[in-house]
Symmetry: C2
Subunit: 219 residues, 2 copies
DNA sequence: TATGTATTCAATACAGTACTTGAATAGAGG
DNA sequence: CCTCTATTCAAGTACTGTATTGAATACATA
């Protein structure tokens, strides 16, 4: 076998390391969660309903292919994406899937149907009305994700804590909740809870990264 | 298991279809070749030194995950990338690998060392001097790839046909050869052949897509 | 219609991967 | 220094994916 072939084989072996990382649904879910901010093994295990050992194993393969790093914090090992570029890459993969697979569009539709009685607001409208101070924007993700990155002007009230916070909510502003994006129902749940209290609320379909992408788009 | 979990699992199963396509070195090589233009099974088999049956099998998995399409032309089945976006996605994957894996940088270096006596020209310099008509640009890839897409102003002389064409080459212009890019040695081989004839020549490191990307960059 | 060629199919062998379980480790905090 | 907890390791099993071989198919061309 020629030297060139050997080199080429080596090269594609390397390229495939990234592909292998992305070839497991569970690993993709872990990576998406990490794109919202650093997380411990246990948190990932809860969020994905996988066993801790299994998550740990997946994390090791992601670590070996340099998709994630980790450091210790107290008793916990905290994992995070190795590089900003990886979140972008995942975003591109999602977009490619939506474009390519009808099935993904159907699933998206089912997520939308899951909360058909939740009103939505567009990024454009959000921008306008937040500038006017008409809107209180709620980040209902876990606090650590808010701390890692959030839409400017939003305040953090994780869904689980929402009930305790009813009384602190203003009555002269409309409330908009957001979470990780289209494929996340935390914001919808928040809106439903608020409605039960007679507090009218919307949800933002998009996530933090979508917001920043949009700001860049409109200059 | 909750409905939301089921949906999420379905969703990531879909996302992973693309990941699975990219998880095999051989499939990545096939995709890269197809990013240069449509090809028959046999061509791909030759280029990758895989058995025809094996290539056919890989192509079927790529077809099932909608990465490629095919049509018949005479006796041949011609495969091509399903979508422009896939070539871009592959490009991003390459860049991520180069950034992330030292090993890839080393391999790149070895490709550069493989033809240390071949002089290179930059995209910038190429632009300038082609405008002045000082340079004859040679596309030494297979003709079908040239026909699919090439750098404007280039003429097609596949490496295999180069020897027959010595006499037709001008003597008042410098010759620059290009092929698929950094990880392709066809242009280097062409330069070496020309040098043996006493014809001085350079190679362009970059490929067609790199050239277009560069034009866009500089506006 | 017959022939030849390109591609696909089917069966197999084998390697690699995913998830489970239970034990081991590390090291934070009392 | 001991205990407790989060994580990792190791072994086992079931599963999935890859490459090989030889036969089958499809179909263009004569």
């Amino acid at each position: 076998m020629s030297d060139e072939r050997k080199l080429t084989d080596l090269l594609y072996e390397e390229f495939a390391r990234i592909g292998k990382s992305l070839s497991s649904p569970k690993r993709l879910e872990i990576l998406d969660l990490l794109s919202q901010g650093p997380k411990s093994v246990e948190e990932l295990s809860k969020a994905t309903t996988m066993s801790v050992a299994n998550v740990s194993q997946h994390l090791r393969t992601l670590y070996n292919s340099k998709m994630v790093t980790s450091h210790k914090e107290g008793n916990f090992v905290i994992y995070e994406l190795m590089d900003e570029g990886i979140a972008d890459f995942l975003e591109t993969l999602h977009m490619l899937s939506e474009k390519q697979y009808m099935e993904v569009q159907q699933i998206k539709q089912e997520f939308l149907n899951a909360d058909h009685d939740v009103d939505r607001i567009s990024l454009e409208e959000l921008n306008e009305r937040m500038d006017n101070g008409e809107i209180l924007l709620l980040d209902v993700r876990p606090r650590s994700e808010y701390e890692s990155s959030h839409i400017p002007g939003a305040i953090s009230i994780p869904v689980e804590e929402l009930e305790e916070q009813y009384s602190t909510l203003p009555t002269d502003q409309e409330i908009v909740a957001y979470c990780r994006g289209t494929y996340c129902l935390m914001a919808s749940r928040a809106v439903e809870l608020l409605k039960e209290q007679g507090i009218y609320a919307y949800r933002l379909q998009e996530g933090v990264q979508d917001w920043y992408d949009y700001q860049e788009d409109i200059g």
